[in-house]
């Protein structure tokens, strides 16, 4: 390998040797290494590269911090958002449409299906509208674009052609007819199963059948029944269902049309013309209903349960008929056919037994918004139907929902209409109608009574005839037997009466349950300025909203502030209002609201259902004030008088006071006041009026203290002091003619007036005169006289005395000492001082010396400046002289050279 080849590879090799492969690799590394080792130039290059690399790797740690990174990312997002918002509005609308197109379509589809379902529901439930479509569950696929990813989960079983499809519908409400069938065993239904007619009782008959909503819709059995009730029985039903019937009276003979071509054809007993005219009887209705269902069920079983639509065929009907052939048929006398409809039970009409005893009971479980209104409605309905409420109980469950049971008795012939009316009272949870035939029991019991009556009769005859063998014993025996028979008769008669009662009045047990409601609750913690005020406002709120204060507890905290715990009950309708009013009391510190529903205020139940609010009102904790005030006053006594008046105004008291007299005779008092915190600020202001406030230090809060803390006494330390009294004092300078004489005079004065000499000094001045300084303590009383005495000592040069008017000592202590600084100066002599001459000689010598030194210095300076020049000049002169000498010597030598 030569250098040229190596050059291109060294770079890679360096990276490799640092363990940083870059996808490329040096193929003949050993050869390269050998070359590098051998060739000094390439080795230098390699090493240099390695070194630079090494230095650069030290920078590997340079990177932004995580916080910086996050900041940058936020910046990126912000910038992107900014760009988005600056797009044109039409663009954003389009954008929204593109994103939510699928949702719009599916919502439209759902809405359409719901509207349809509602329409059907209305028809089906007799247009009453009370049940609506509650309880129904739908699995719907709307017009969903299956390629769209956003609504993938809704798409099960999508049908892309239809605008939407109702795949399945389950309804637990009134349509679950199967639950309320008549007891399907025994002869009950057979006896009356011939009645062709409607079964919806008193409910309004639908006037039209909804046209097939859309192809492929499968209807539940309720709709089949609805179809059966249609006026035109031959109207084809959706999904190929056909209802066939004739208007001819043909009794049990089902479907006169022998060609039931459609496999799913429903054939029901045709409605007799007469029956159409006459009002349908309840039993007939029930029977018809059962028959229809039975047929539907069987059809479903035939089809292996696979078909959702319960349909049935002629064959099923025929089986039914054959099985029931031996059933007796109702006749005109049957009390249950009070409508007087003569029914022909097909080929083999049978009489219906007389006095058929049927006990009809119904159980209905309803969910109603409010128990009370439901109960009222039920009572009204029952009264209309000629029945009565036999029993009513109710209890409140946790959560405030009321559950109650109302037992209603109605005449059996109005059972169905009553039951139907009751169903409209609320949402049906379950219903159950039973008809128990007790005819056999009844007849049996009657027979037993009859036979016992015969026995009784015979026993009576025995007693009457007195034909006994053993008279007494037999008589007793017979009478005992008679008693037993009598008791039994009565017992049977009792049973009979009970039965008759239950037969004569049907029983409907209505269980009413209020829906399990979400009752809001709140827990609030509000800071108020004053608890009393807030509690009053709370009371007003509760009074206006019909709320109740269940419990209230007020406690006082350490700093005197109050805290109240309240349990409030209000109704759901006013919950928001009350909670809002409470929050308006002050600053809300904590708010927990659970399960608040909006828009329920208008619901009738909302007024009656209670909900609870736990409330804590507390006053802000206070830093109670404390002050220390110093006031300068003119006179302590009058100040104390004014202070006392102030205290009365502010409910304040003096807890301690101490008076003292200052050295200058001024009175001072240290007073500790106790003021309610609420009056603290005004008290402080009032103190200002006592005099000049010299100091004021407060801690804690002084302003706006209200609530419980306002009554807490707080301390003010008041220091009242009269203005300091100034004792006359000052300085005086007196020039005296003779110092000694003046000092003697002063001494006399001092002795006479008992003046204290605080300090004194005297000194002789240069000219032999004397100067004296005296510091004298003079009582205020003597000051004036003393000062005038001093003035007589000589010529007053300076006098500066301050203090209260010298004559007026009323405000100061006359014995207080004032200080006079006195200077006594002897008049200076005019003779010249002898020392003056010698001093001037020394000065003159010093002067002369100074001149000498300075001239020496100047000379030295001059020399220093001149010396280099002198040296230079000397050197030049010397040089010049030398040159001339040399020239002379050379000329001389030239002259001596011999000629050539």
């Amino acid at each position: 390998m030569n250098c040229e080849q190596a050059k291109g590879l060294i770079d890679l090799r360096v990276h490799e040797s640092l363990g940083e492969s870059r996808g490329e690799s040096v193929k003949d590394a050993p050869e390269l290494d050998a070359h590098v080792a051998a060739c000094p130039r390439c080795r230098a290059e390699f090493e240099e590269l390695l070194r630079v690399r090494g230095q650069l790797t030290t920078l590997a740690g340079d990177r932004p911090s995580d916080a910086e990174k996050n900041g940058m990312w936020t910046g990126v997002l912000k910038a992107m958002a900014m760009e988005k918002t600056t797009q044109s509005p039409s663009g954003s609308v389009l954008h929204w449409w593109a994103r939510n197109r699928a949702m719009v379509f599916s919502l439209t589809g759902v809405a359409a299906v719901l509207a349809l379902a509602f329409q059907i529901g209305n028809l089906q439930y007799g247009g009453g509208g009370s049940g609506g479509i509650s309880g129904a569950m739908y699995s719907i696929s709307g017009g969903v674009d299956s390629s769209d990813q956003y609504f993938g989960e809704v798409q099960s079983g999508v049908n892309e052609e239809s605008g939407g499809e109702l795949l399945e519908r389950r309804a637990d409400g009134p349509s679950s007819v199967r639950k309320n069938r008549l007891s399907p065993t025994g002869s009950d239904f057979k006896a009356v199963g011939t009645a062709g007619g409607e079964y919806t009782g008193g409910a309004a008959k639908p006037t039209a059948l909804a046209p097939p909503p859309m192809p492929g819709v499968i209807l539940g059995e309720s709709q089949v029944h609805a179809a059966l009730n249609a006026d035109d029985a031959n109207e084809p039903l959706p999904n190929g269902l056909v209802v066939r019937g004739t208007t001819a009276f043909s009794g049990m003979t089902p479907g006169t049309s022998p060609s039931l071509a459609a496999p799913n054809a429903v054939t029901v007993p045709p409605l007799a013309a007469a029956a159409r005219e006459a009002p349908p009887t309840p039993l007939a209705v029930s029977t018809f209903r059962w028959m229809a269902e039975k047929a539907i069920d069987e059809k479903a079983e035939d089809a292996g349960g696979a078909e959702r639509a319960r349909t049935f065929s002629r064959a099923g009907w025929e089986r039914e008929r054959d099985a029931n052939n031996d059933v007796p048929v109702a006749n005109d006398d049957n009390e249950f056919f009070s409508g007087g409809v003569a029914l022909n039970n097909g080929p083999s009409p049978r009489p219906v037994p007389q006095n058929l005893k049927i006990i009809r009971t119904g159980e209905l479980s309803l969910e109603c918004d409010l128990f009370s209104t439901a109960a009222e409605r039920i009572e009204r309905i029952v009264a209309e139907k000629g029945g009565f409420v036999a029993n009513a109980t109710s209890s409140e469950e946790t959560g405030g929902a009321i559950v109650g049971t109302i037992v209603v008795r109605v005449p059996p012939e109005r059972f169905d209409e009553t039951f139907a009316a009751l169903k409209a009272v609320g949402r049906i949870e379950s219903e159950n109608v039973k008809a128990a035939d007790v005819t056999a029991d009844y007849v049996d019991t009657e027979a037993r009574i009859a036979s016992l009556q015969i026995t009784e009769q015979r026993l009576r005859e025995l007693i009457a005839n007195k034909s006994f063998v053993d008279k007494i014993a037999s008589l007793l025996e017979v009478e005992r037997e008679l008693n037993r028979v009598r008791t039994q008769i009565e017992s049977y008669q009792g049973q009979l009466r009970v039965m008759a009662d239950r037969v004569s009045l049907a029983t409907i047990t209505v269980t009413i349950r209020e829906p399990r409601r979400i009752v809001p609750s709140a827990s609030l913690s509000v800071e108020v300025a004053s608890l009393d005020v807030a509690a009053k406002a709370l009371g007003e709120t509760l009074a206006s909203t019909g709320g109740k204060l269940l419990s209230g507890k007020t406690s006082k905290r350490g700093d005197g502030t109050l805290m109240g715990n309240y349990q409030i009950e209000t109704n759901v309708a006013r919950f928001g209002e009350v909670a809002g009013a409470i929050e308006g009391l002050g600053r809300v510190e904590e708010r927990q609201i659970k399960d608040q529903q909006f828009g329920v205020a208008g619901e009738p139940w909302a007024e009656k259902v209670k909900c609870a609010i736990a409330l804590v009102l507390f006053e802000r904790s206070r830093q109670l004030p404390n002050a220390s005030v110093g006031v300068e006053i003119d006179d302590l006594d009058s100040a104390m008088e004014r202070l006392t008046a102030m205290l009365a105004n502010h409910d304040a008291t003096i807890s301690s006071s101490q008076t003292r007299i200052a050295p200058d005779g001024a009175d001072a008092a240290d007073i500790r006041l106790r003021v309610p915190a609420g009056r603290f600020a005004s008290m402080l202001d009032a103190l200002d009026e006592l005099g000049r406030m010299t100091s004021k230090a407060t801690t804690g809060e002084t302003e706006n203290i209200v609530g419980g803390a306002a009554a807490v006494p707080c301390d003010i330390t008041l220091s009242l002091s009269e203005k300091p009294r100034e004792v006359p004092s000052g300085t005086m300078a007196v020039e005296v003619a003779a110092f000694d004489a003046a000092r003697d005079a002063l001494s006399r004065q001092i002795a006479e007036r008992k003046v204290q000499v605080l300090a004194s000094s005297s000194s002789q001045r240069g000219d032999g005169t004397w100067l004296g300084h005296f510091r004298l303590g003079v009582t205020a009383r003597d000051m004036e006289a003393f000062v005038s005495a001093l003035e007589k000592l000589g010529r007053v040069q300076d006098r500066h005395i301050t203090g209260l008017g010298l004559g007026d000592l009323s405000r100061i202590d006359p014995t207080a000492l004032g200080v006079i600084e006195l200077t006594l100066a002897e008049k200076a002599s005019l003779a010249p001082a002898p020392d003056e001459g010698s001093g001037s000689i020394r000065a003159r010598i010093r002067e002369g010396l100074r001149g000498f030194y300075s001239s020496i210095g100047l000379i030295a300076y001059g020399l220093a400046v001149l010396l280099p020049w002198l040296l230079l000049a000397t050197a030049i002169l010397g040089l010049f002289a030398g040159v001339r000498r040399w020239a002379r010597v050379r000329n001389a030598a030239g002259d001596t050279r011999p000629p050539e």
Partner: protein
């Protein structure tokens, strides 16, 4: 180092994220951001010698990326494209800044001394700072070459693609840059200090 050469553009590790990003996936963009932010930042930092400016440039770069990733055709790796974008944003930034700062005293390299340097003894920190200064003081083209090839560990081919140069130009520039770096640093350090730096890096 997860970088591939141009030859491997089809197996670019960023490709799936880029594809997601193209359909407006914010999360994918963030992943790309996290993956490359250090390197983009370091490039900008060396070019501008200021942390603030580098942060600004990083933001601009990724906003540009988000906007124009649809136009990225995958002919090169995402990384090379990203650095082409970075370079153009940085150039714009520098141009703007030069205009703004014309006549002002030349900005010092004090920005480069960062507080969050990894701890080391005084000499090491000093050495690092000197290297930073040296890199930052290189002429623009040389600095680009050094930053891309040495600090960001790109191959010459990739760097060439980012810079729009032929591979030989990259090689020559890099060579000159290394020489210049060595000259700048040699006067500064004793052999011992360099040895230490090397040992540390090793």
């Amino acid at each position: 180092m997860g970088l591939m050469t141009v030859k491997n553009a089809m197996t670019d590790a960023d490709a799936p994220l880029v594809a997601k990003c193209r359909s407006g996936d914010r999360a994918a963009l963030e992943l790309l951001f996290r993956r490359h932010v250090d390197r983009v930042w370091r490039y900008a930092w060396f070019a501008t010698r200021s942390r603030e400016a580098a942060g600004e440039i990083v933001q601009d770069v990724f906003v540009r990326v988000a906007k124009s990733v649809k136009g990225f055709e995958g002919r090169s790796t995402f990384a090379t494209w990203l650095f082409a974008v970075t370079r153009s944003v940085t150039m714009n930034f520098l141009r703007r800044r030069d205009r703004d700062e014309r006549g002002r005293a030349d900005s010092t390299y004090l920005h480069l001394v960062t507080a969050d340097d990894p701890p080391g003894d005084g000499q090491q920190v000093d050495a690092r700072d000197a290297v930073r200064k040296a890199v930052a003081e290189l002429p623009g083209a040389q600095r680009d070459a050094v930053v891309l090839c040495e600090l960001l560990r790109m191959s010459m081919a990739e760097a060439g693609e980012v810079l729009g140069w032929g591979q030989s130009r990259v090689k020559v520039t890099l060579f000159r840059a290394r020489r210049a770096l060595r000259e700048m640093l040699e006067g500064r350090f004793s052999a011992e200090g360099l040895g230490q730096a090397e040992r540390e890096s090793g």
